[in-house]
Structure formats: C-alpha cells, structure tokens
C-alpha cells in the first residue's frame, strides 16, 4: 500500500526541502507563475529585481523539492509544475524502489535474528 511508501520516502530531508522551498515569497511567486504556463528561466528572471543567477537558484530550490521540473527546449530551459509522463513514472518507481528496499532490509534483519524453528520465533512486540 502506498501510505508506507509515502512514509518511507518522505524522510526529514525531503520534508525539509519542501518546507524550505515554500518558505520564500519569491519562490512561492515563481511557483504560482508556473502553474498552467511554462516560462523559461530567462523570462522569469526579467520579472524579478534580481540577477538571472539568483532566479536560477530559486528555481533549483523548487526543483530539489520536487515542485517543478526543468526541461530543455532549444536554447531555453522551461520551468513547469506539471512534469511529463516519463518523469512521473520515474518518480513513482523511485518511491516504490525505496519502499521495497526498506522492506528487504527488514526481511534480512528478521532472517538474521530469528532461528529457523517456529517455537523460537520472537513474537511481535518483543523488540519494541
């Protein structure tokens, strides 16, 4: 089920990125502008009283938090909030991988600590 995928993948680090990304007024504004539109980084930069590099940095923070994706389009880099199908599939399968890797780790731990005979199998709750 997905809830534990979410729990497994929403590490503190991921939440920190998201929190950090949304904590800045310029970044929230950039995010709003990208909904339903795909502005290039240079077009975004024209609208803010800051350098191209500074806007680019803001976009990178949004990207790291998974809120936008950048896509090369000719010489421009378009910023979008609605990632394409391949990007979505990659994201979903990455999450699935994280969840199953964590499960396999827990399986290995159980196999290492439990003897093969059933009567010695620790009951649930013993190690909590």
């Amino acid at each position: 089920m997905y809830n534990q995928m979410v729990v497994d993948t929403m590490t503190d680090e991921v939440v920190d990125h998201l929190f950090h990304a949304l904590a800045d007024a310029t970044r929230r504004d950039i995010l709003r502008r990208c909904v339903g539109d795909e502005p290039s980084v240079s077009r975004l930069a024209e609208d803010y009283p800051m350098s191209f590099a500074a806007v680019q940095k803001h976009v990178a923070v949004l990207e790291r938090a998974g809120l936008v994706t950048k896509e090369r389009h000719g010489r421009e880099r378009l910023v979008r909030t609605d990632p394409d199908a391949v990007h979505l599939a990659r994201q979903a399968l990455d999450q699935l991988e994280t969840a199953w890797r964590a499960r396999v780790d827990r399986m290995s731990q159980l196999l290492a600590q439990t003897p093969e005979t059933e009567e010695h199998t620790p009951r649930r709750g013993q190690d909590r």
Binding site: Y2, V6, V7, R101, A102, V104, M107, L111, R128
Partner: protein, 161 residues
C-alpha cells in the same frame, strides 16, 4: 546488501527487484506466510503493520492496518491471485475502508514474488506494477499531498514552540 539488482520499466510502470538472502526458501517463505512475521517487515518501524485476516489461498484476502505515531490507522488489503508454497505468490495490494473492505476508488498495485534456491540461500524476485497510469499519478499526488501535510505539521510545531 541483500538487494542485488533493481530494474525499472517506465513504459510498463514496473519495478523488478532481486534480493538474495542467506536463509533457506522455506524460511523466507514464512516471512510472507506467517502473519506475525509479515507484520514485522511490511510497514516501516514508525508505522507498524497489524495483520487482521490472512488467507493465503487463491482468491483469499489479507487485511491489515498500519498505525501512525499519532495513532491514526491506515487500512489495506491484498487479494491473492495465485499462491504456490513455498515458491511464489501473486496478489493485488490496495487501500481499504475503515471496515477493512477494499476501497475500489483508490489505486492498486500488483505484486508477484518468486523464490528460488541460490547458492546456499534463497533468491527473491519481486515484481511490482502500478495497475494503471492513472493509479500511479493518483499515488504520486497523494504522496505530494502527504509531504505538504507533513511540512505544514512541522510549521505548526515550529510556531507552537
């Protein structure tokens, strides 16, 4: 590391994972077949699983819930498509309503697990498929929503401190 390979097929929305364990097949099988063992690895330590029904037969159902640190219960179910002890299981995994019945509006994934002898231990091949692209996107959106919820929760905690 017990995971020896991972393959992702973006067109078929399929994850294939191979893991090797230093234990006989029958022992690894018990991790799936014994509900008390299943609940020790299915959910993450922060959200331990409790298996309520465990009918590992073709057409049978497994129902479970996971408990969050706040005491919130997330219910889920498996429907077993095929099972061949101690070698393979195929099942659909989905969300359940509060009474444990499958919530058909929610996304499902299909899992196939196969065990084989490998060296002196066992090899587990696991294939997990999103049942449709819509299901996959729905799950991603739920993940994003959950992330936002957690971020907002952190904000509340910060403001309260």
């Amino acid at each position: 590391m017990s995971v020896t390979s991972v393959d992702k097929d973006f067109d078929r929305l399929t994850l294939t994972l191979i893991a090797d364990f230093d234990a006989p097949i029958e022992r690894v099988w018990q991790l799936w077949a014994d509900p008390r063992q299943l609940e020790r690895w299915w959910g993450p330590p922060s959200h331990p699983a409790t298996v309520e029904n465990h009918d590992l037969t073709p057409g049978g159902e497994i129902t479970y819930f996971m408990t969050s640190p706040e005491g919130e219960k997330y219910r889920g179910w498996w429907r077993v498509a095929s099972v061949s002890p101690p070698k393979s299981i195929e099942f659909t995994d989905g969300f359940a309503n509060d009474d444990g019945t499958p919530n058909v509006d929610m996304p499902t994934t299909t899992v196939r697990m196969q065990l084989s002898q490998h060296d002196r231990g066992s090899r587990m091949e696991l294939r997990s498929v999103f049942d449709s692209r819509e299901h996959m996107e729905q799950l991603l959106h739920m993940g994003a929503a959950e992330g936002l919820r957690q971020a907002v929760g952190q904000m509340d905690a910060l403001l309260a401190s």
